[in-house]
Symmetry: C2
Subunit: 199 residues, 2 copies
Amino acid sequence: MKSAPPIDRLVSALRRLPGIGEKSATRLAFFLLGAPNTLVHELAEAISRLKTEIILCEICFDLTDASPCPICSSSQRDATLVCVVEEPADLAAVERSQRFAGRYHVLGGVLSPIDGVGPEDLRIDQLVQRVQRDGVVEVILATNPTAEGDATARFISDRLSGTDVQMTRIAYGLPLGGDLEYADHATIGLSLENRRGMD
Amino acid sequence: MKSAPPIDRLVSALRRLPGIGEKSATRLAFFLLGAPNTLVHELAEAISRLKTEIILCEICFDLTDASPCPICSSSQRDATLVCVVEEPADLAAVERSQRFAGRYHVLGGVLSPIDGVGPEDLRIDQLVQRVQRDGVVEVILATNPTAEGDATARFISDRLSGTDVQMTRIAYGLPLGGDLEYADHATIGLSLENRRGMD
């Protein structure tokens, strides 16, 4: 015999989220049962509106509810400095560090022959066009410090080698094999400051 | 500059849940962005329907979507054996152990003079009536092994001392100061089997 169906249904749905097992799911469900209606309503609303309201920015390919996104539209952000990241979650992590005043380019992944991901699957052509069109002075390659992230950074560096743009790679302040998405603010800030030229 | 408003809104809502900080909330939000629509829809639906569909069982005071609840309605469950717990989450924990074939009584808390919780704030009168009315043979006091849980068990035992009902307390297989809600199945099962008479 289990809990009432509405509780079981929520526990099942929560268990499908990453890092949430049966006990955490049950604890969250009972917390929500006792929580104020406004919180529960806000959460349900935020989840159900998430997918319908989110589109890709036509310039940087970040997730946004209006294209161009607020960063690409902002005159406060240096359009000649572009930070290239793998995924929107990486962009969010760099933003949280509050140490970067330029703009972004989201690749949508990383080169990975094993998974069948080639250059044509990433937004590399769009980056090259953007660099040529918008007078970008520096491209910071902030792909993750993994074999695939390094290979992708090197590939992009080669693709842009005929242009005047300066290519830099974020410093290896990040732990090797780590993931930008889970790094702390200070480490991300440091690795931006210590970025070095691509050789 | 933050993520798009729909993402920020979800991260804010998720951060108000217990055990979920900014990084977990962000990770969950980006997971949901990439997850199948059906999963996202099911989760939003389960959360929003939770509060409207859940009521209290008129017999045991567990959370349910139909009163009497499935356990109180089931002929498979021994009505003469009643396990008294503090909260619905504790009942769910005992159920998960699959070692108990009786019925339950949810007190709705525990005696706590410091928090101003007296016997009249718990469903103790309803338990006494139930014992007298339904020919209950044994009451297992499964309040948590804390000072308040023990005091509450003792209080209930005193209240029922004039009746024929046998009073037992779950064994201290649970770690002292612990909480039923977070105990593992085996420990809960063991503590039910090793229950002893109230002296």
